[in-house]
């Protein structure tokens, strides 16, 4: 009952302030648009907006990001279904059956199913998040000290490394690059300068905002520059046609299964919505009595993928708000928003800023509901906006990123760092490394080193001290098992062919972007 009252209070706070409403609507439409426009994603928009959240209150900043997260995950489904161009990686499996449905003249039904299932997956996930986060945070206050947080960071990085890149080793290298970038600057215990190369700029460390802008927004533009050789798309005519209740009921098990898959993928650090969508789709194929129909325009394919990816969004907020640990790129940026307001996400947020938490929860709930409304009313408008040629969008994105990087500290060197990160990100992405892994390593690196130092001091530098703390020990074991499983998989399991040469079933994803 308390949760419900808090939710109502959050709703009142959200809708009683016109600025909050404006930010909410901006987040809903911005997330949906950037999710839908091929070549950019909600992460691009989030990276661009990150520096400017300093002008907002902490609750407005976090709310904006969480709303963009919900609608951005849905937005990419429109282009995936209509043009076979997923707006974001998490919508790639939607295209497997969504695009064939368009070719079969069922585009309206596919978009309608995506709208309904995204909203459903998101709403259920948000309700569970609202019920579960506060108790987990309460428990975490007493149960989580530095050894547990360090162990959780280790476990999160082990999972992220295992799933974030083309190979296990590249996943680890991505995480380790992020950890190494986080080392630059003063060490957290003695304040000794590390890797500053006698440059005053590096004394405070490499700022995460130019780095994030470079890795996400700028590298994406560079990748698109290379893809320009592929030509463009044209927007087809469309009407949104919701699946009937009987059609939806016929797929109730697929919806429930995908919500469960999406939720667990979201709550585990480092997995996120992309893998949730692929696993949701994969399980739909595996459980189906007619797996051969997948890839040819089966509604269940769209339903499974879109329910799973949106179900991951609410779950991803639980480790961030309850434990202070981001599980993916967007939640890592939310840590940045907290830090810009001199706050640390974690269990204490519930005590010190309960208003913030419940406004964010309410905003996420309404954002998922608004997918239904905007998806029905505004899909045609969004499709028209997608006609903006990328060559006109690219300079705007680059200039917004430039202003964003400069506005943080008023240093042009931050702009150089951002574009340099963009170039590095471009080369790493085309070699199969994970940009999200680097950013996760960068954000968790500082937390990891600090908590490791505190834990070792607490345990009098006795490693065996971890054995006496069951949660820390369990998480370390889980991390090691993940690591060992990945190493075993990397060397001994039969693997797929390189993506550029295609793969067998399920069908390989179409290339995202290209417009």
């Amino acid at each position: 009952m308390d949760a419900f009252n808090n939710f109502l209070q959050g709703s009142v706070t959200l809708f009683s302030d016109p600025i909050n409403i404006l930010i909410f609507l901006g987040g809903v439409i911005g997330g949906m648009l950037f999710g839908a426009i091929p070549g950019v994603s909600m992460l691009t928009l989030a990276a661009i907006l990150l520096p400017f959240t300093a002008h907002l209150s902490a609750e407005q900043g976090i709310m904006l990001f969480s709303v963009m997260y919900c609608t951005g995950v849905y937005g990419g489904a429109i282009t995936a279904i209509l043009f076979n161009i997923p707006g974001a990686p998490e919508n790639a499996p939607t295209a497997f059956d969504g695009y064939p449905m368009t070719k079969n003249g069922q585009a309206g039904k596919a978009v309608g199913a995506a709208v309904m299932c995204s909203a459903l997956g998101g709403v259920v996930s948000t309700i569970i998040m609202m019920a579960a986060t506060a108790p987990i945070a309460d428990w975490a206050i007493s149960a989580f000290g530095p050894p547990e947080i360090f162990a959780l960071v280790f476990f999160g990085l082990a999972v992220a490394a295992s799933v974030g890149a083309k190979t296990f080793w590249k996943g680890w290298l991505s995480i380790l690059i992020g950890l190494m970038i986080a080392v630059v600057g003063l060490d957290p215990v003695g304040g000794i300068e590390r890797y500053d190369f006698d440059m005053p700029y590096l004394l405070a460390g490499i700022h995460f905002i130019p780095t994030i802008l470079g890795f996400f927004a700028v590298s994406e533009i560079f990748v698109q520059a290379e893809k320009k050789v592929r030509g463009s798309y044209t927007a087809p005519k469309l009407s949104v046609d919701f699946p009937s209740l009987s059609e939806l009921l016929a797929h109730k098990f697929a919806v429930i299964r995908s919500i469960v898959i999406g939720f667990f993928c979201g709550i585990l650090p480092g997995i996120g919505a992309t893998l949730a969508a692929f696993m949701g789709y994969n399980e739909a194929v595996r459980w189906s009595k007619t797996p051969e129909e997948f890839g040819k325009g089966k509604l269940e394919g769209v339903i499974s993928s879109e329910t799973a990816n949106n179900a991951a969004t609410g779950a991803a907020m639980i480790p961030l708000l309850a434990l202070g640990l981001p599980g993916g790129a967007l939640t890592a940026m939310m840590v940045g928003v907290f830090q810009m307001h001199d706050m640390q996400p974690g269990p204490l947020v519930f005590l010190t800023s309960a208003d913030l938490v419940w406004v964010v929860f309410a905003a996420m709930f309404y954002a998922n509901c608004s997918i239904l409304l905007i998806g029905f009313l505004e899909t045609k408008t969004i499709i028209n906006l997608l006609r903006i040629p990328f060559q006109f969008l690219a300079p705007l994105i680059l200039l917004l990123a430039t202003v964003g990087a400069y506005a943080v500290r008023g240093l042009t060197i931050d702009i150089v760092v951002m574009f340099l990160a963009g170039v590095v990100g471009f080369f790493l992405r085309r070699s199969g490394y994970s940009i999200a892994g680097i950013v996760l390593g960068l954000i968790l690196g500082k937390i990891g080193e600090q908590t490791f130092a505190q834990a070792m001091q607490m345990l009098h530098f006795e490693w065996s001290g971890f054995f006496d703390r069951p949660i820390a020990f369990g998480l370390l074991i889980a991390g090691f098992l993940t690591l060992c499983g990945s190493i075993y998989g990397a060397f001994f399991k039969k693997t797929s062919a390189p993506s550029s040469t295609g793969s067998d079933s399920p069908p390989a994803p179409p290339p995202p972007g290209g417009g």
Partner: protein
């Protein structure tokens, strides 16, 4: 050689070389901390060791399995088309990489060479300003020469070059050229749409950030660019 390609060896060599460099540099801050027995270098050295292990593991993976990915689902989930785009555009040759890195040196040449020529790094020095103007003019001519035939390479370097020039020439002078340059690099050739979009984007940036949000963007150091930038800010604010 198993399924190794020269690129795999270069990749492993890069990571191991980086590890060596970072390890050697870690002696610069290898100081004891009384309350912390691992010192300031313990954590970074552990990361360096793990990077070296991962680089060797990656090399062994390439030797045994070539370019195969670890898992079919993960491979599909992380594929953003960038590898394929590079492959299709034939941007994977050693020659392509070398010429790209050569072009990427241009912004750094601008950041270092004028100071060597002028023999000073004092910001207000007239000789340094002249050197910067001359070097910038030469480098811009080089960029214009390459822009027609090496679009992707120039696209990588162009924003960095813009960032390098910002301190001296200012946002207000450079941004219109930058907008047109990016549109050109993305294949736009029609003059009227380019000018219209340039005016729209530049106008939006000025209105949004200078007039409404009062963001102080770089005005430049060199005349007459400094005066132009200051004039724009005065008019708008």
């Amino acid at each position: 050689m198993g399924r190794l390609r020269p690129g795999h060896l270069v990749e492993a060599g890069f990571w191991l070389g980086l590890c060596l460099f970072l390890y050697v540099y870690s002696f610069e801050f290898d100081k004891n901390i009384e309350i912390y027995k691992f010192g300031a270098s313990g954590w970074p050295r552990a990361i360096i060791l793990l990077i070296a292990i991962a680089a060797i593991g990656q090399l062994i993976h390439h030797y045994v399995k070539g370019d195969e990915s670890s898992s079919q689902i993960i491979s599909a989930a992380v594929d953003d088309g960038s590898e394929e785009a590079a492959h299709e555009a034939h941007h994977e040759t050693v020659k392509w990489y070398l010429s790209t890195f050569a072009l990427l040196a241009i912004p750094f040449i601008y950041m270092r060479v004028p100071e060597w020529i002028a023999g000073t790094a004092e910001p207000g020095d007239a000789g340094l300003h002249t050197a910067r103007l001359i070097v910038a003019a030469i480098l811009i001519a080089i960029v214009v020469y390459f822009i027609r035939h090496h679009r992707v390479r120039v696209a990588l370097m162009f924003p960095l070059f813009f960032a390098a020039l910002l301190e001296d020439f200012g946002f207000y002078t450079l941004a219109p050229f930058f907008i047109v340059g990016v549109m050109y690099l993305f294949g736009e050739r029609r003059t009227k749409p380019m000018l219209l979009i340039m005016a729209l984007i530049f106008g939006f940036m000025l209105t949004m950030f200078v007039k409404i949000l009062y963001v102080g963007l770089p005005v430049g150091n060199i005349e007459p660019f400094y005066s132009i930038g200051s004039w724009v800010v005065t008019v708008l604010q």
